[in-house]
């Protein structure tokens, strides 16, 4: 599998604190790559650096091309979309217009309407497309945010704790959706998640970070056996 994203020694400091510290890893095309770690480990900061919201030091290559000096909208136009930990939607716009933002600004395709309708169908919100986003329940907000990201037709999508706060049924539906995004649409996924059971079930490879540093990378089985991971993150019951 060719490498879609390669980070080389990326570091992001806030004053004295290195939220991301000298982090290097590769993500293969078409894989689901999981990221976990304790609160404050630097997972979201890492996403913000990749998507251009923060500028750090080090190098980020996307299909061999440097993207670490690009602004967020340029990163998006290269084909990297993302969702946010706190479900953010354009609250005064309808579901349709939320997705239209991604289809219009993040995508150079001329067939805007078809993309929006396909995305609505894919996330299952066709019937709710005229509802203003602020009136949506949490799960639909998350779907809308995901739909807007998908409407940019990305090759790589970064999902930041996409199932936080959802019911078990909604979690199952989400997981199915992530698998379809990966299988049917052929989109590479990097996903941050706290629920280890879910993360291990969907990821081909995983990385555990702690204090901004990588402590382990490998298949879910390898990660679950790693002594350091058990010590700082998983706790004894996984041993």
């Amino acid at each position: 599998m060719p490498i879609i994203l390669e980070t080389k020694q990326i570091t992001k400091r806030f004053g004295e604190l290195a939220a991301v510290n000298n982090l290097s890893f590769d993500v293969n095309e078409k894989e689901i790559f999981g990221i976990a770690g304790p609160n404050g480990a630097g997972k979201t900061t890492l996403f913000n650096v990749i998507s251009g919201i923060y500028s750090g030091s080090g190098e980020i290559d996307y299909f061999g091309e440097r993207i670490d000096r690009l602004r967020p909208f340029q990163v998006c136009l290269k084909g990297i979309a993302r969702t946010f930990q706190i479900p953010t939607v354009f609250s005064t716009l309808t579901v349709y217009d939320n997705i239209r933002i991604g289809a219009h600004f993040g995508n150079h395709s001329l067939n805007e309407k078809k993309i929006i309708n396909d995305v609505l169908e894919f996330i299952g919100l066709t019937e709710k497309q005229h509802i203003e986003a602020k009136h949506l329940p949490l799960f639909d907000k998350k779907l809308t945010m995901l739909g807007a990201a998908l409407a940019t037709e990305p090759k790589l999508i970064l999902l930041d704790e996409p199932i936080g706060g959802l019911s078990p049924k909604e979690i199952n539906e989400s997981v199915e959706l992530f698998k379809r995004i990966n299988n049917e649409l052929g989109i590479t996924i990097i996903v941050i998640e706290h629920l280890m059971k879910v993360l291990m079930a969907i990821s081909q490879r995983m990385m555990i970070i702690h204090n901004g540093e990588k402590i382990c990378i490998g298949s879910p089985e390898e990660v679950a056996r790693d002594k350091q991971v058990i010590e700082v993150y998983l706790g004894a019951e996984y041993a």
């Binding site: 251009g52 919201i53 602004r71 967020p72 909208f73 939607v89 005064t92 933002i101 600004f105």
Partner: protein, 336 residues
């Protein structure tokens, strides 16, 4: 259904009312003048709302674009002989260029900081205008603190608009108002407006979805300044005068009250606010210096009880009307 019908009826009614107003007031110059001012300030307030309410950028130098437009068209008309019609465009372009340039250092500023930087325009510009007065530039003088006087009025098919006949001015102003309100509405509904709203509602997400925030921030500065500048040019040709006093602090406050009372980011709230506040301001004239106190109180009460301004009241009235109509209909349809 009922909602749409009500909306369309109220729109048609409003347009009819605006069209026949001169029949009621044509021989009262004082009232005609106030209605014309309502229309001009309606455009200014709606253009300010574009950047303040829709793009959520605290641009507090908006009146300087109005004044720049007035001076640019006035100077071009007086010293080069440019027709006022082209002056309205030239005033808009001059203001848009300055708006664009002001926008550049403001790109990375937010909230209070943006407000402070743009607010300083209200002090810089009058100083520059007075400096560029008589004795400095003989052939292109701004007229100093007296202002630029004897700005020519437009003419149409041989008819020259004059302050002696306000009915033609009224219809011209109404056309100007409808044209710019339509343009603002089209901007809001276009993809440009979508970008403004996206950046307002959730900026990081908008950026991650491909919205180039610098481009759209500069665009909203330039567009809103253009409309304010064009309104300033129109105002100058109507009064045949533009002066630094047009951006005094009390004018700034009154226009801000129009936008806030009308409702931020709820088109056409700002324009409706301009109508109401222009008239209220006129009625409050006998209260002298208490006027600003009363207007200030209106702002505080608006912010506390109806954050969407007059549009909150209209929505409430709409719901009430709908309920009344529904009750009637259901009582009709129930068999006796």
């Amino acid at each position: 259904m009922v909602n749409n019908l009500l909306k369309n009826l109220s729109r048609i009614g409003l347009l009819l009312l605006l069209a026949i107003l001169p029949i009621l007031f044509h021989d009262n110059d004082h009232i005609m003048n106030i209605i014309i001012l309502c229309l001009i300030w309606g455009v200014v307030a709606a253009s300010w709302d574009l950047i303040l309410g829709y793009a959520n950028l605290f641009s507090f130098g908006h009146l300087s674009f109005f004044v720049i437009g007035g001076y640019a068209s006035g100077l071009l008309a007086k010293y080069i002989g440019l027709t006022p019609w082209l002056g309205y465009i030239a005033g808009g372009i001059a203001a848009a260029i300055i708006g664009f340039l002001i926008g550049i250092p403001c790109l990375r500023l937010k909230g209070m900081y943006l407000a402070i930087v743009t607010f300083s325009l209200n002090f810089v510009l009058p100083t520059l205008i007075v400096w560029a007065g008589p004795g400095k530039f003989e052939n292109f003088s701004t007229g100093g603190s007296w202002g630029l006087t004897r700005i020519p009025a437009p003419s149409l098919f041989g008819y020259v608009f004059t302050r002696q006949e306000l009915v033609p001015w009224y219809y011209l102003s109404l056309g100007f108002f409808i044209m710019f309100l339509s343009i603002i509405y089209l901007i809001i509904k276009s993809n440009i407006g979508l970008a403004f709203i996206a950046l307002r509602d959730a900026e990081p997400q908008a950026k991650s979805l491909g919205v180039n925030e610098y481009k759209y921030k500069l665009l909203v500065f330039a567009l809103s300044a253009f409309i304010a500048g064009s309104a300033g040019a129109y105002y100058a040709s109507y009064f045949s005068l533009i002066s630094p006093a047009s951006m005094n602090l009390d004018v700034f406050l009154i226009v801000l009250v129009m936008v806030l009372f009308g409702g931020l980011g709820v088109f056409p709230g700002a324009a409706i606010g301009a109508f109401i506040i222009t008239i209220v301001n006129e009625l409050l004239r006998p209260t002298l210096e208490w006027r600003l106190v009363i207007l200030g109180t209106i702002v505080i009460l608006t912010m506390m009880f109806m954050p969407k301004g007059i549009m909150d009241i209209l929505a409430l009235l709409g719901r009430l009307m709908k309920r009344i109509l529904n009750i009637r209909r259901s009582s009709k349809s129930t068999p006796a």
